[in-house]
């Protein structure tokens, strides 16, 4: 039984008496504990966001986040409307029993079960369904589903008053014409409330195109005959070329990674590989499939789908009132001694027709006089031509033939006349094969292979080959049928029996009836009705703003059940700039890897904060993402996101003002109240730790940002453990008790050889001024010219070395920093640049490259003896990793971050003086440590850079993802 606990009363209580918080939440925990065996969900109101977050936090250990659902209440509506709205929401969740928290907490845990059953009994039983709409193509449409539907209707019409909804000129089936009213799709939209149930039959062909928009507008139960719907989507695209249905459907079912490297011209591949059935799975009220195989496919594709809404009902078959076998054979021109082997259905590579022909030609069957082989079905394309040629070149070609599309009469004649049927399949993708049932129904002994759902056929009712059988096995099976008439006899009887017992239409129709009955919502309003009621009671028809609020709340509340968990990756700052260096570079690399190599069943979406007329909102960054991954043709706009309970949001870059303002407007609070787990990646908090190395005023902005992050997040992830610890300490020190501390984690960056932080176009030839053959050691420093990198310290250090007669060469690669700032705000940069330019060793033992290309940088890495990093502090220290990847020794300042990143793979220089502090003694110490290193270097005993451990970006993204998804507790 599905129990829904309405906790809105608890929210009110918490809001009214915060001092009672601990007691109230403990009561909730106790209640959940005693209900641990029940399928429990908790409903919350979105207009008490703080309380919703508290409750979610309390229950998070005992119950999955996706089972706690929050009802968004439109802003500024009157209390009556909002209560009605919330009641509508409780009904929409379709629980077996809704109880409020106040009622439950009064009951002692011993009496709980008794109370529950008492409540269950009092529940109003929904009236049975009387009138249903049946949405499916029907004969004369040339699809197996049309015939199936016609058969099913013969049974359903006994139980319901049925209207059929079709998009075809005529319905030729006399029974349907007599017993059902034929309606148009338009009618269904306008009169959906007149029906107790709506049933769709969906298959993978153009015949079903008209049903797709209906599924969302008039939701019902969808019978999914095919799991893969790519051909259907492609057919819609051909009918309306301005909309890339296929690409969009695949984007929704499988995300960006499915589209990378694909374009519209590769549609065959896309159709083959991706299900493209997201909308059907998401917007239907329930799904019916014909086999457990299909159910598993759905579960794997959409892990978050509610399993209770998927029903398996076997494909049905009307026990045939046998037509005379002898008459059928006479009509087909067969004589008594002939042995007719048939395979039914459209002939294609998936049906292994060529394999059958070969095996038949090789078996005793073909040697037997009067033995015939008929392919009953259309054989188009190159495969059909191939098959025809192979028949013509075989022995006695007149004994094998292809009938082409067989009309019902002819089809049934063949079924009645056949002595043996062979129904083979390869690459089953969740289709249902009705033809096998046809064969069994006509008592034809049938050979199948255990592919997809066929493996679920009752044993002994068919001759079952392995899924990937050898040709010899098929030959053996054919021989067995000839040699052992008693086997054929048994198959024939058991097959028929299975039809009578398992696939009997009456039985299947009963199952349909119970599924339909269970979906009946007595007296409950549909989302549309709830929205319309709210609009009319708020008189919002003419008031744009309040109508917008209603739609916005409706989207969050009634937007359809979530079937895939989504990780929303916030790249607000990165998407807004063309910069590909620093944090932006990290964000791009992580996003890319998460999107391409994330995990099955989890969507990864890029999002960005955007200022709209309704305040800051998270919107998809689809254009940015398409550009990043090189995807074309999706053509979707950057609309606001619709997060669901259980989703995650992780912010990868430092967006500053947008985050601060969004936090003030409650964007993050709303997300968290709706069950979105919020994480921020923090690259460093240097502006707070050492404000003097940043432009004046940077500290204040950064402080506001970090405050907003602290208030907004469930999780903070440092790029190093050092950063993570620093943030935690800062929050404990500066903001004690202001907000509950988030959890802290850390995840190292990745690195790869190809990417470089520099994108200017200097070629290696520009290094000509650099002495090519020099025995003097070369020290390389990489990074923007800014105060905290301590180039001033490097110059002091080298001045000391040069003065004492040593000959080392210092190469600095980095652009002059903060060039958008006036000189008086640039700290020591102007004087540092001046000093670099006019240094007496400039061009001799000191080189500064203000921007350099990848090629030249690689060349420098080759020529250098060691990388030198003297920063006062860093977030991560990517140059250390990049140097060690090129096996360049690393000499670094002895700071926590460098210790963490480089470990034993680097040589550390002491000297703790920060910028602006006297450094004379430090310089003496450092120069002697540098000389020590040189001595080791000569003997090749310096620390080995190859011992530095580093991650690829893919590993880094994987680590980040597992933290975000809460899989990892560090």
């Amino acid at each position: 039984m599905r129990l829904l606990i309405d906790a809105s009363g608890l929210q009110r209580e918490l809001a009214a008496s915060p001092e009672e918080k601990t007691r109230l939440l403990a009561e909730l925990e106790r209640l959940l504990h005693s209900l641990v065996d029940e399928d429990v969900r908790i409903a919350l109101r979105g207009d008490f966001p703080g309380e919703a977050i508290q409750i979610r936090r309390t229950v998070s250990s005992g119950i999955d986040a996706s089972k706690v659902v929050t009802c968004a209440i439109p802003a500024n509506i009157c209390p009556e409307t909002s209560d009605r709205w919330y009641r509508g929401f409780l009904g929409y969740l379709r629980a077996d029993l809704v109880v409020d928290f106040e009622t439950m907490r009064a009951v002692s845990s011993a009496d709980l079960q008794g109370k529950l059953s008492e409540l269950t009994e009092r529940r109003v039983q929904p009236a049975s369904a009387r009138k249903i709409a049946f949405v499916s193509p029907l004969p004369p449409s040339r699809t197996g589903i049309a015939d199936y539907s016609a058969e099913l209707l013969r049974e359903l019409c006994d139980r319901f008053s049925v209207d059929v909804v079709v998009d075809q000129e005529e319905v030729s089936d006399p029974f349907v014409g007599q017993h059902c009213t034929v309606r148009s799709p338009r009618w269904l939209i306008d009169h959906q409330q007149d029906y107790d149930g709506i049933v769709y039959h969906i298959g993978n062909s153009a015949f079903h195109a008209y049903q797709m928009p209906l599924i969302r507008r008039a939701p019902g139960i969808v019978v999914l005959h095919d799991f893969f719907l790519g051909d259907l989507q492609f057919a819609r695209e051909r009918a309306e070329p301005s909309i890339p249905f296929l690409l969009r459907a695949i984007y929704r079912s499988d995300g960006y990674r499915a589209l990378v490297g694909k374009s519209e011209s590769r549609s065959a591949e896309l159709i083959r590989d991706y299900p493209a059935n997201y909308d059907v799975a998401r917007y239907s009220k329930g799904l019916v499939v014909h086999s457990d195989f299909s159910r598993q496919l759905l579960k794997r594709q959409y892990p978050a789908i509610d399993q209770k809404t998927i029903h398996v009902i076997p494909h049905l078959r009307q026990p045939e009132l046998k037509r005379s076998r002898s008459e059928a054979r006479a009509r087909l021109g067969l004589s008594d001694g002939d042995f007719l082997t048939c395979t039914f259905g459209v002939v294609g590579p998936n049906k292994l027709a060529l394999e059958l022909l070969e095996a038949w030609q090789a078996s005793r069957l073909s040697e037997r006089p009067g033995s015939k082989l008929a392919f009953v079905g259309e054989a188009g394309g190159r495969y059909g031509d191939d098959l025809r040629r192979r028949i013509d070149t075989g022995v006695v070609p007149e004994n094998a033939w292809i009938t082409g599309w067989a009309e019902t009469e002819l089809f049934h004649d063949y079924l009645a006349a056949a002595d043996l049927a062979v129904q083979l399949r390869a690459n089953s993708r969740g289709e249902t094969s009705g033809t096998i049932l046809d064969c069994m129904n006509y008592s034809v002994p049938t050979i199948v292979n255990a592919n997809g759902s066929m493996s679920e056929l009752p044993s002994e009712s068919v001759y079952m080959l392995r899924d990937k059988f050898e040709k010899a096995e098929l030959v053996e099976a054919l021989d067995a049928i000839v040699l052992r008439p008693e086997l054929a006899q048994r198959l024939s009887e058991r097959g028929r029996q299975a039809i009578l017992e398992l696939y009997c239409p009456r039985l299947c129709a009963e199952k349909y009836a119970s599924v339909i009955a269970a979906s009946v919502e007595d007296g409950q309003s549909t989302p549309n009705e709830i929205v319309q009621n709210a609009i009319s009671s708020e008189k919002a028809q003419g008031n744009e703003e309040s109508a917008r609020e209603i739609f916005r709340a409706a989207a969050l509340t009634f937007g359809g059940t979530q079937i895939q968990r989504t990780v929303h990756v916030d790249v607000t700052a990165t998407a807004a700039t063309d910069l590909k260096t620093g944090i932006e570079r990290v964000a791009r690399a992580l996003l890319r890897e998460m999107a391409l190599h994330g995990r099955e069943g989890i969507r990864v979406e890029a999002v960005a904060l955007r200022r709209t007329s309704g305040g800051w909102r998270y919107c998809y960054a689809r254009r940015f993402m398409s550009e990043l991954l090189g995807i074309t043709g999706l053509d979707l706009d950057d609309s606001p996101i619709e997060p669901a309970s259980g989703d995650c949001l992780v912010a990868l870059d430092v967006a500053g003002q947008p985050v601060i303002e969004a936090q003030r407007q409650g964007v993050f609070e709303t997300l968290r109240a709706h069950g979105v787990h919020v994480s921020f990646l923090v690259h460093d908090i240097l502006p707070l730790m050492q404000p003097e190395v940043f432009p004046p005023g940077a500290e204040e902005g950064f402080r506001q940002w970090l405050d907003a992050v602290g208030e907004s997040s469930d999780q903070i992830i440092g790029v190093t453990k050092t950063v993570s610890d620093n943030v935690r300490n800062w929050m404990i020190r500066e903001k004690p008790g202001k907000y509950p501390l988030p959890e802290f984690f850390w995840s190292h960056h990745g690195a790869d050889f190809s990417a470089s932080a520099f994108d200017s176009e200097t070629s290696a030839s520009e290094l000509f001024q650099f002495p090519a053959q020099s025995t003097a050691p070369v020290f390389l420093m990489v990074g923007t010219i800014e105060p905290r990198k301590r180039y001033d310290l490097a110059l002091d250090l080298f001045d000391e070395l040069w003065e004492s007669g040593e000959q080392p060469i210092l190469v600095i690669v980095g652009k002059e920093g903060w060039q958008d700032q006036p000189d008086d705000r640039r700290r020591n940069i102007p004087s540092l640049v001046e000093r670099l330019r006019n240094h007496p060793q400039q061009g001799k033992r000191l080189f500064w490259f203000n921007g350099i290309g990848d090629e030249a940088l690689s060349e420098l890495y080759r020529r250098a003896s060691a990388l030198l990093a003297l920063s006062d502090d860093e977030g991560f220290g990517l140059p250390l990793i990049e140097a060690s990847q090129r096996q360049l020794p690393v000499i670094a300042r002895d700071i926590d971050v460098f210790r963490e990143v480089a470990g034993d793979g680097a040589w550390f220089l002491g000297g703790a003086s920060k910028l602006g502090e006297p450094a004379e003694t430090d310089i003496l110490a450092m120069s002697s440590q540098l000389r020590d290193w040189l001595a080791l270097y000569v003997r090749n005993e310096h620390p080995d850079p190859r011992t530095v451990r580093w991650k690829t970006w893919q590993e880094s993204a994987e680590c980040l993802l597992s933290i975000v998804l809460n899989e990892k507790k560090v």
Partner: protein, 395 residues
């Protein structure tokens, strides 16, 4: 190598006797004038093989002597009654007196002997030839790509291919007064207009050549030989390649001319179509103008201005809304007009076809772009609901 083998090889590869004799007639213009100088002229054929050339010499009135080392070949000649000797060619020449012979020939000999031997052979030939006497040396032409690359090596007794210019140089160097390269035996083409294919460039160059050299004689005696020495024969690699290029260029030229002509035609047709489209548009405008009444066209800009003002300015809009609240039908009309005119502030534009994959208008209006996909859905449904209730009332 057994003698029978070589004879069998010759039989297999050098072709029918009459064919060979027919091919050899090409040399007759070089030697027949010698009979006028001396009716008793002696022609010596070194490596005479099966004796086709000896036969041709005798038939044309020369005294002839064949020399060969291959017993099988010699037997063939003896059977036919041809005058042959079994002796080494160089030894034979050395045994002859100065200026005693009118013609010295060697067909497919040069490629079988070491180069110094060849040089000495040519020197000796120069010595024994009388003034005006003619040396003929025929050999495979390595300038023909298939010959040079592999056909030459089909004969295991071949030593090295000899480029024509080299052989000619050796002859000139010995003191012959004039010499020329005669390219021979190229496949016959039926007509001049036949297309030259690449394979013809590779295989069609004359597969054999001969150097024909003449010893100095008084000018009046040499004149009779001017014609054959000036005659054009055969196909060279340069010639074939150039001809191939020329033909290709001509064909491309023809194609490009054809394209130019088509392009001109296209342009003129497009212009016609554009004119037709202009006319159609004009007709449309005229029809539209006729249907829109004069009054409407006068009122529309005024209404646009008034409603536009009323919808955008805050307090005016409020007043406007208040005033219209009592006249919902009129309000609907005005808003519909505002939407039609695409006025700012005319909220909720109507008409949401065609639908996208979610059943929504895919051409996103600015007002919709700030809505999420489900918000758009509820918005569209709400519009639809309003339309429906309006229709019901209408009924």
């Amino acid at each position: 190598m057994s003698s029978d083998f070589y004879k069998a090889f010759e039989d297999r590869f050098r072709g029918e006797r009459s064919d060979i004799k027919q091919r050899l007639t090409v040399y007759l213009p070089f030697i027949t004038p010698l009979l006028r100088l001396d009716p008793e002229s002696l022609a010596v054929d070194l490596g005479c093989g099966r004796g086709e050339w000896l036969e041709l010499l005798l038939e044309n009135g020369f005294q002839a002597q064949g020399v060969d080392l291959d017993r099988g070949m010699l037997k063939d000649c003896e059977v036919r009654g041809l005058p042959v000797l079994k002796q080494d060619a160089l030894e034979f020449l050395k045994s002859q007196d100065d200026s005693s012979v009118a013609v010295v020939s060697g067909f497919h000999v040069a490629e079988h002997v070491p180069f110094p031997y060849l040089q000495e052979l040519i020197n000796e030939a120069f010595r024994v030839l009388r003034p005006g006497g003619v040396l003929i040396l025929e050999t495979p032409n390595p300038e023909n790509v298939t010959v040079g690359s592999h056909k030459f090596y089909m004969d295991p007794t071949h030593r090295q291919p000899i480029p024509g210019e080299l052989l000619k140089f050796v002859a000139d160097h010995c003191g012959f007064a004039r010499s020329r390269i005669l390219r021979l035996n190229e496949p016959k083409s039926d007509g001049v207009n036949e297309d030259l294919r690449l394979i013809d460039v590779l295989e069609g160059v004359s597969p054999d050549y001969a150097v024909v050299a003449q010893k100095k004689a008084p000018v009046n005696e040499m004149v009779a030989f001017d014609m054959p020495f000036a005659m054009e024969t055969g196909m060279s690699l340069d010639g074939a390649a150039n001809r191939y290029d020329d033909e290709l260029r001509n064909r491309l030229e023809a194609v490009s001319q054809g394209l130019d002509k088509m392009r001109e035609q296209c342009v003129s047709k497009t212009e016609h179509l554009a004119k037709i489209a202009q006319l159609e548009k004009r007709i449309g405008e005229l029809e539209a103008a006729r249907s829109a009444s004069f009054l409407k066209s006068l009122l529309r800009p005024v209404a646009r201005w008034v409603i536009g003002k009323a919808l955008t300015a805050g307090w005016k809009r409020k007043a406007f809304e208040r005033a219209l609240a009592r006249f919902p039908v009129l309000r609907g009309h005005i808003l519909a007009f505002a939407r039609n005119q695409n006025l700012p502030g005319a909220w909720l534009p109507q008409g949401l076809a065609p639908l996208d994959e979610l059943g929504l208008d895919h051409s996103v209006t600015p007002g919709l772009s700030e809505m999420s996909e489900s918000e758009r859905f509820f918005y569209a449904e709400s519009i639809h609901g309003q339309d429906r209730s309006k229709n019901k009332k209408g009924l």
